[in-house]
Amino acid sequence: MSRTWETPGGVHPPENKLQSMTQSIGHLPIPGTLVIPLHQHIGSPETVDVTIGQTVLKGQKLTTAIHSDNLPVHASTSGTVIAIDDHPVAHPSGLNALCVTIASDGKDQWIERTGIADFRRCGPLDLLQIITDAGIAGMGGAGFPAAIKLSPSNDKTVDTLIINATECEPYITADDAAMRGKTQDLIQGIEVVCHILNGPKRVVIGIEDNKPQAIKALRSYVQESSIKIVPFPTKYPSGGEKQLIYILTGREVPSGGLPIDLGMVCLNIGTLIAIKRAIVDGEPLISRITTVTGEACGVNRNYEVLIGTPISHLLTHNEFDENNCSRLIMGGPMMGFSLTSTDVPVVKTTNCILAPSHSEIPVDTPAQACIRCGLCAEACPVSLLPQQLFWYAQAKDQERLEAHNLFDCIECGACSYVCPSNIPLVQHYRSSKGEIRKANIDKIDADNARQRFEFRKLRLEQADKQRQAKREARRLVTEQARAASSTSQPGSSAADIIAAAQQRAITKKASPDQQKAKLERALLAAQSRLQEAEKRLIEATINGSTKQQTICSASVESARQKVDQAQHRLRELTD
């Protein structure tokens, strides 16, 4: 038995997991049309590779990455592209986004797949490229590109791989089903990742003790190897990356930092299976396991669903009764967000579609005043004071909100869940965070504008000075030349001075090869620093405070400048 640590707070909402685990993972008929959002993960946008009317094969790339943190998306089945336009997508804010719509031809015909059975012969960088090309994003929460998590950084080594099999949200059983039904894929995925990470010292699977069958399935596969399976008591939210790391290691990810700062990488079950498929089978990420559950669905079950499948397709195949449905949720009841339409497609992070009945999740009773009972603080897993945050959120006191560590709130909803006054606390925190971010962005813009202005002023001044200096030098030279011609002293003529200057310039260029090598090294270093900085910026955008974001974007900017400089110098040299 490994020791585990207990996080503060937490709640025990009814689990409701049994109903979707009565059957094994199912498959649905291929839907007539698939809507594939081009932007399913955190990172920058892509360029579209296909045109309307073009036929595509299953697994064919639809977009090309233009940036290191881009992920492509792929056709989930074969068919014809019938639209590339804005379409409602699953997003907390209910926005539309650019999607490729494919009319399936029913043949489900694959592109040519080249898997690598013996992945150990490949270098980590090649494998990471395959993972990126397969479009694999973290399939648990935010959808962070997996390859970025796994890519080596120059000053940090990974000694612990943590596998998040917690699945602490009520209702969701996608990972549970995967662990039972696809155990071998999962283990192979872990092996691939271990190879990429150059054999981390510790590999730990953290799993809540409400999944005894999954634990048994895993144990039957890993007895021999060095993977540790660590079950711990069920409590929401143990599955947050930071919470899990604490539970398993007793260490805390520094505020605003990443698990890598502790030498850890944390991946979830779906991601590992996707990695296995990408490497060993040569299949990009085009499907995932999704739980369809809730009393408004006659059938509760896990399915292997094609990315882009409209939610309506899932619902109609599960005896969905719209009149009995109180709300439609993508994700679990604690952190999932409500969908306004069933037209939105399944994306890479869709682990659950929850359609509860009116009695199951009734309409919220109106919020009462905060009685400052402190139940929320007792429930908070990161030791915040939710009642104070609420107070200052209402007062719009941004300074106090930051002093009370608003940005360390993981929006788990435990506080709202226990609040006897039924206050939608998380909603207040979200909007406060948004307001503070916006205020800071405005401030950054203002700062940048000021900086640009000052920089320009400085540059102009310097240019002025340089011009003056040059004028002065010329004057000196002519004077000296005049003086020299009058005294006819050798060695100090204008011609001599110029020759000396040329000589200096030549010595400077004396070893171009050496210089080139040096510049190339500098360029590489700058590039890797840039990547590192970008990684941090993405993470900060997901869950950091504004200040961190500011710092990160500043460092990305300066890293980018350094890369540009290095490239520029290199080009000058080679030209």
């Binding site: 909402p13 990810v253 505020s255 009841p333 409500s338 009773t365 002093a403």
Partner: protein, 355 residues
């Protein structure tokens, strides 16, 4: 098909604010029963007057402040304030004493500060202190515990009690007297053994002081119920009782004539238990974090002892709580919990980010 956009979390723990308040009300029952048994109908009459006055006052204030009346009355918070005040007032106090106290509690201490959740001071204690300062005679006349009544004398029945309360009839001799804390306050010069020997209040007591010991046991039971149901945490009440006990051990002075009394007497006399479990635990006016509440409780325990031992009033819970309320925001500033991923706790008034 269109569905409503609702923010997470979806679903909710069934516990509601009015349920919390009802539970608090129910938990006062053991204390109420003990009071009624020991001191007769007076407490019951206090309760009725206080609750009615408070509800009317709350409704009127809500109407004046343009708030939905039924919605707020349903949270039971006014009833809780009224009940706590009523239990603290002397039984058989004149009706206007109770009415004035309730009005002060609800109108001034609660609604004028912004209603539920906004009052910096505990409303019941504000009402109590106003009465204590304004009507010291009425407020310090206590009914004699049942077992100490003179031969042949009984607590007045319900009708007689009502006539005392409402018509101002004077109760018959012998049914009012001093409390254990009064006795200690006013018997300087005697060593503790002597007091215990002379005073019926003590020599007939089971362990602390006749009557009062059971009232305190009643509130202790109620408090334990609330602790078990996790309505509040142990920090404030136990810190207060602990500090009170510690102080009375330190200054016990082996029972000399200057001794302010034994720890057992202090813990089980006056409003100790009621204060610890029902007044200090008022979350609105107390400190916020657990650590803060611990300090808050200790401070009040200390003040209670200091005022009891060396102040002018025999009991001190109300004053001590109000002083504690004053200190609460200050305590809060230095007792934020350490958040995950931070190396140190921060101050509530910190500017910018740490590190």
């Amino acid at each position: 098909m269109a569905f409503k956009q609702i923010s997470s979390p979806h679903g909710h723990n069934p516990q509601s604010t009015s349920w919390v308040m009802q539970l608090v009300l129910l938990s006062t029952l053991p204390g109420f029963i003990a009071l009624s048994y020991q001191f007769g109908w007076g407490t019951f009459i206090n309760l009725i007057i206080a609750v009615m006055t408070s509800l009317v006052a709350e409704a009127a204030m809500l109407a004046l402040r343009n708030r939905p009346i039924a919605f707020y009355l349903k949270d039971y918070s006014a009833a809780v304030t009224a009940v706590l005040l009523a239990l603290a007032l002397p039984p058989l106090a004149s009706w206007w004493v109770v009415v004035v106290g309730s009005l002060f509690a609800i109108v001034v201490a609660k609604q004028l500060y912004g209603g539920i959740g906004h009052n910096p001071f505990n409303p019941a204690m504000v009402g109590y202190v106003v009465l204590l300062i304004s009507f010291p005679i009425e407020m310090t006349t206590w009914v004699t515990p049942i077992s100490l009544l003179p031969e042949g004398v009984q607590h007045p029945g319900l009708w007689e009690s009502l006539s005392i309360v409402f018509a101002g009839n004077t109760p018959i001799d012998g049914i009012t007297g001093a409390t254990p804390l009064d006795v200690f306050k006013h018997s300087s010069g005697l060593v503790v053994d002597q007091i215990y020997h002379d005073e019926a209040l003590f020599n007939q007591a089971s362990f602390a002081g006749v009557g009062w010991e059971w009232v305190n046991v009643g509130f202790l039971i109620g408090g334990i119920i609330l602790l078990k149901t996790r309505i509040f945490t142990w920090h404030a009440p136990l810190a207060m009782l602990g500090t009170l006990a510690l102080m009375s051990i330190l200054f016990w002075d082996s029972g000399s004539s200057a001794s302010p009394g034994s720890p057992v007497m202090h813990l089980f006399s006056g409003a100790s238990m009621m204060g610890a479990f029902f007044i200090l635990t008022d979350p609105v006016s107390s400190a916020v974090s657990n650590r803060g509440r611990f300090i808050y409780g200790s401070l009040i325990g200390l003040l209670v002892y200091v005022i009891r031992a060396w102040g002018n009033y025999p009991d001190a819970v109300a004053f001590a709580v109000l002083l504690g309320n004053f200190a609460a925001p200050f305590i809060d500033n230095y007792t934020l919990p350490r958040t995950y991923g931070h190396t140190a706790r921060r101050k509530a008034t910190d500017k910018g980010e740490d590190e």
